[in-house]
């Protein structure tokens, strides 16, 4: 019985990692697009990149890194059977994720307000490189934002299961896999942040 449980656990871990690898390749494709457009339109990218809000980018980086810490700690907590702590840590992770999304809302609103959006009058008149930068920016951070939203949903379901007692020190692979997914969301942002906010 123990052996069978161990195999199921190993299988579940392998499954989530295979999924995460496909996610890495998905965002890898978007980073490849960024790199090729940057090499084709270096001057336009530099001008467009200067319009980014470094403050929002840095705040969101700190939020995601911190939420990742809480998620990692929640795995340690469940392994040690500290259920109360697991719930608090998952709650803190979810709150960080929500603040991240609220920041994103204000950031995008400000950018759209300044006339940076696909097919805006500003971009139709200007060189194509700037429009490409912002299209790619909205696509990449938008897709990442969906992942944050999915992570919030997933972690909420996990927290409810922990409270019901369905996840505990003897069986916590769902919590561990959801935390892995959450770390991936953090990992992708670790690359989005320098590429869009810093290097230009």
């Amino acid at each position: 019985m123990i052996r069978k449980m161990e195999k199921e656990y190993a299988g579940a871990k392998l499954g989530i990692w295979l999924f995460l690898f496909t996610e890495i390749l998905l965002f890898g494709g978007l980073f490849l697009l960024y790199a090729t457009y940057l090499s084709s339109y270096p001057r336009e990218f530099a001008i467009a990149g200067r319009e980014m809000h470094l403050g929002f980018g840095t705040a969101n980086t700190i939020l995601l890194i911190t939420s990742s810490l809480f998620a990692a700690m929640s795995v340690t907590a469940v392994q040690q059977g500290e259920i109360r702590k697991v719930l608090n840590l998952l709650g803190a992770t979810i709150i960080c994720a929500m603040i991240f999304l609220v920041n994103k809302y204000f950031e995008w609103s400000s950018e759209i307000g300044h006339g940076f959006y696909p097919d805006s009058p500003r971009f139709s008149a200007g060189p194509i490189g700037e429009a490409l930068f912002f299209s790619l920016y909205y696509l990449t951070t938008g897709l990442h934002g969906f992942h944050v939203l999915a992570g919030v949903g997933l972690l909420t379901v996990v927290a409810l299961k922990v409270r019901r007692g369905a996840i505990h020190a003897g069986d916590y692979v769902l919590l561990e896999n959801s935390a892995l997914y959450w770390h991936l969301v953090d990992l992708i942002w670790i690359f989005i942040f320098p590429l869009y906010y810093l290097v230009l």
Binding site: I24, S39, S40, T66, L198
Partner: protein, 97 residues
């Protein structure tokens, strides 16, 4: 601060996780500071190098990869090599057009 082994599951202690978090914050500060310096094209490589260090910390400790077996490590390597090939080969094409 020694970690605990329990039925082949590795438990990472809280202080170690907090230490990884502190390093991640320091690297974030470093990368923002570096971006303000006038380095030209070195910006891109410097920022990417710091991002890779941060990614390593997250994967190794937060994602427990340091304590996983050969299968998962091998698959991670395979994924990164695949990514490197498709980014690298695209640039072979772009650079020599």
């Amino acid at each position: 601060m020694a970690d605990i082994e329990k039925d082949s599951h590795h438990i990472i202690r809280y202080p170690k996780l907090v230490m990884v978090w502190v390093f991640l914050l320091l690297l974030t500060g470093l990368t923002v500071w570096v971006s303000r310096l006038d380095l030209g094209v070195l910006h891109v490589w410097g920022s990417l190098a710091i991002a890779v260090m941060k990614a390593f910390l997250v994967i190794a400790f937060f994602m427990h990869m340091r304590y996983e077996g050969r299968l998962l490590r091998g698959l991670l390597l395979l994924t990164l090599v695949t990514l490197a090939i498709f980014i690298g080969f695209t640039f072979f094409d772009l650079s020599y057009r």
